[in-house]
Symmetry: C2
Subunit: 231 residues, 2 copies
């Protein structure tokens, strides 16, 4: 007789919004965006569709809650007392790693941000970044500009990195993956895409996190140039 697995236990606890969101995150992680379905969710939770709708208004709200849960834990305050620049890098890397671990986050965050009114996750991210911008000594009128550039770069670049990691299937080797990438790039017309082709060659040789942080440093250099710290 097999030992009882977590998956096999059938409703020892009552259904709750938390349990539903937790199951949704698990499903998104293992089966991807298309894998989250009310059908399989009801199976996993050993319940009926109506029970889920009692705790959650609809699928959109469930996705928003799952997104917020993961982001909240990613932004949980870490160490402390470093320079504001290091704090910004830490927040950025926290989101980078969260998106890497939960690739569906990239698409979901873009959806959540482009929805009005904002759900809970948008202010959470903006505040996490904005506080470090404030700590940097940036004047109030520029918080939005600096925060926006950082936030959009972090989410966009992290999403792209996650897409690349995901494309590297468990079975395939890194060499195989890079081959398929370079094959795609070689199909670009060298006359139409000179810059993209050169960049594509380089991308394969660099460390992902290092390259990600180079973008952060570029923005920080712009901040230092436009808002030099008082002497």
């Amino acid at each position: 007789m097999p030992p009882p697995t977590r998956r096999a236990q059938r409703r020892t606890e009552a259904l709750s919004r938390e349990r539903i969101v937790e199951a949704a995150v698990e499903l998104l992680d293992t089966a991807g965006e298309g894998g989250l379905t009310f059908r399989v969710l009801t199976e996993r939770l050993a319940t009926g569709a109506g029970a889920i709708y009692w705790h959650v208004a609809n699928k959109g709200e469930l996705l928003a809650a799952a997104t917020d849960a993961v982001v909240a834990s990613a932004l949980a305050p870490g160490g402390s007392r470093e320079s504001p620049q290091d704090e910004i890098r830490a927040v950025a890397l926290g989101l980078f790693d969260a998106i890497d671990a939960h690739p569906w986050l990239a698409t979901q965050l873009s959806v959540q941000l482009s929805r009005t009114p904002w759900g809970p996750v948008a202010p959470r991210i903006f505040e996490g970044i904005g506080r470090q911008v404030r700590a940097l000594g940036v004047p109030e009128e520029s918080w939005f500009t600096v925060g926006s550039v950082l936030m959009h770069y972090v989410l966009g670049a992290a999403g792209q990195n996650a897409a690349n990691s995901r494309a590297l299937e468990p079975g395939a080797s890194r060499a195989e993956f890079l081959d398929s990438v370079s094959k795609a790039w070689e199909e670009l017309d060298p006359d139409d895409y000179p810059v993209t082709r050169i960049v594509a060659e380089q991308v394969r040789e660099h460390d992902d996190r290092e390259q990600f942080l180079a973008g952060i440093d570029l923005v920080l250099a712009g901040v230092a140039a436009l808002h030099p710290p008082a002497p």
Copy 2:
């Protein structure tokens, strides 16, 4: 008798991939992301579902083609002979305006970028920006960093702007919209979201395009600081 409208004409031209993509863009523009359906597409084109599948592999390919068509026309070369900085602003504003006119572009671009292998639209955008980065005199090793920061900021910020414009429904006044926004912001706990609340107040008073360009200038300042032009 009403004059013949473009919509009423029933298949005077043969079906083609171009006509299908054109109809898809129209549908996305008028009915939003959820409005593009094979059911209504077949009605609009006075045909059957199978006919569309003869020209297009599936819905994903159709969305990619619609996205690429709009982006291609948005990046069509404009004036000329300005400074590289002005060229970058022009490219950025071209994408900004395209996303404003076609709000579904924001989500679609994020989907297209996070798909491996890249479709045609990703290199198109990166090249459009990357060429100006090259013109700026940025050394080759930094093209990826600078291009990535610019691209992700442009797409992210433009998407957010489009979401706000869309929220301002045709009937509603700008005052009403701003009221609803500020109401949402006031629900944020001042202790938990001090920065976000201050920024939210400011956002309502500023011009969208101006604020967008401020982000571009921040990145350009970083480029100038890290890669000063040879004397």
